[in-house]
Symmetry: none
Subunit: 216 residues, 4 copies
């Protein structure tokens, strides 16, 4: 007996996934823009094609939705990190590449930066809550560790620095420009988004890091 009631059964699943992704995309913007408390479920609902009820259907709660957004954005950068192919480069080149990648990623994904800031305002409780995120051991550290080892072996790097500490410094320099763009920009009258500034900063950070590793 053919199920004539539901001729679109196969596409159902696809639609469902599409709906989920649609909600997620809108929510990402909303949480990045207004924070967890500042974002409004109603406002998110108003921007999606289906109804508000779907948010609860798919994500259970506002917090559940926020968590899903967090998992998505952290997954995004991790995915990209995996595509880096640094082994064919010299240690210095690889390090510079790493800096460039980090710099560009932050520059191009201010919403990621904002969401990370939001999560830190919340003491990182959601990140800790999510098994997915807790297990997301960023490949960046192993990549950097490899670069460090190769550079040390080649006599090009003279610092005894931990890969995590190095990553922290690179991140800090790339993150701050974006995260604190508004306050820093206003206080010191500098347009952090201007192309000239961006390129100068990129080169500067590259030099700071490379210089440090070479030095001492």
């Amino acid at each position: 007996m053919p199920d004539s009631r539901n001729p679109t059964a196969p596409s159902r699943k696809l639609d469902a996934e599409k709906t989920r992704q649609n909600i997620l995309a809108v929510a990402r913007r909303a949480f990045a823009e207004h924070g967890l408390s500042g974002a409004r479920v109603d406002a998110i609902a108003a921007q999606i094609s289906t109804t508000k009820r779907m948010i609860y259907y798919y994500f259970g709660s506002k917090e559940g939705l926020y968590l899903a957004v967090l998992e998505q954005v952290y997954g995004g950068i991790r995915g990209l990190e995996l595509t880096l192919d640094l082994d064919r480069l010299t240690p210095i080149e690889a390090l510079n590449q790493m800096v460039d990648f980090t710099f560009d990623y932050h520059e191009e994904n201010p919403d990621f930066v904002r969401l990370v800031s939001v999560e830190n305002i919340h003491h990182g409780v959601h990140l800790r809550q999510s098994e997915t995120l807790r297990n997301l051991n960023s490949s960046v550290i192993t990549s950097l560790a490899t670069i460090l080892a190769r550079g040390k072996a080649a006599g090009q790097f003279h610092r005894d620095i931990d890969a995590v500490d190095l990553h922290m410094m690179i991140s800090a320099l790339c993150y701050y420009r974006v995260s604190n763009r508004h306050t820093f920009g206003t206080l010191f009258g500098r347009d952090m988004g201007a192309p000239a500034v961006r390129e100068r900063h990129k080169a500067m950070i590259r030099d700071v890091i490379a210089g440090y590793m070479r030095g001492a």
Copy 2:
């Protein structure tokens, strides 16, 4: 709204100012902890000696209170910056001192860091709104410019770097460790608050900056 035209009326005045400061201190904690949207006026009121009504009497609105907090914390760091006496030190020593000061200030004032993050989530609109804050041209830049000039003249610094850019790098390195303590700490299993880590980072940042200025 209270009006401070009358310089006499002694004890009253002091109580009023005390009340104001009391509210401000509680609010600073609340906004640092929960952000602007997340903080609850009622919760702030519950922690102060007078009633909630006073918040509106003194600050007009939740946003007005937040703005006053922002002015207070930015005023705080600026006040301290002015006490630095760097002219008697060599350029390198002065630079190190500057880094140490910045590092310590961020380390000891996580609420300042959190509030700045909050304000950036809000695109810095309140900072721009406040004339006091817009005019707060941090003395840090002139101090750094002086150090840079002296170092250059003495042949100790070989970089053509802008004082603002240098300040950005120092700030970035000192800020990130505190602002992103929770996500970074969780993701990379590192306790950013541990004394050993703190000291290592402090030395590291000092070296990164000094090395960069010396280098090239």
Copy 3:
């Protein structure tokens, strides 16, 4: 906000409309009784079967509710005006009928009168705000214009008066007795609600208007 696109969903719909009407009826009384500022949303809520939240669900704000009330009461009188069948009467009879209708309507709907007074205290801003109300070109004017033309043609009316001006006079005489009942009644010791007074006034107004049209 509720949306009435779905014509099916029977019982729900009726309940929703019933709730809406219930709120509207209670609000009409409240606004007529206390004015826009004087009416209390809480007090209105206390008198309806559902909760206060519904007021905001259906009407958005206190002002939105007031506007809905205004539209309802103006719609009410307009609906009745349309039921008048004056063409079969002589011009004089039609004019008298018009006066009687206006008189009775004001007498029987003091809340309408009060709401119009309230709206005038607010400079008519809400009336102007509502497209529905702005487009409510009362049929009364065309009716009166027809009567005037017929009376003129029949040689029974000798005044060159504008239908709008005539309507204003009729309205003024019928409105004032109700709107200013309290001050006028108190100052001149007259019970404007007494049946004898009412009938005397009705006849008097009829005569004033008819006499004027005939006269000159």
Copy 4:
């Protein structure tokens, strides 16, 4: 022993009265503009030279202030009515004069009209509350009664109408144009304040009333 502490003692009283009048004038505007519930004590205070406390000092409460305003405005029209000298005119002329005076007073004192509307929204409770106002037996009635008697005796008036009823009609016609200016003006696209309209209405009302008294 001369009281050197208070050299301005005599002017004190004058200042006090000036302050009272100042408050009263501001309050009249406020209550006329926003009604009793809509007017804000703070807003009134902000417009007067002395402090808000003075309002309570002189008038006891917001309601007390409103009552004082009411007494003042009703006293104003009463005072003017007394200056009318109608006995030297013919009955018809006197009646026309009465209409003209009433018309002009309403036209020139829209705040009086608004305050009377406000008081009626409040069911005239304050007017009844005030002994001053209860005893304010408007001389208008006796004036009209005299005119009616003279006109009747002279065979010029043929109506058996009560002076109070006649006053009501004159008032209604003059009041409504001002009180309902906004709603009527908007609904029928008529600018009630335009000089041409005003003059036409004035003549019209004169004719309506005179015609009625003559007629039958």
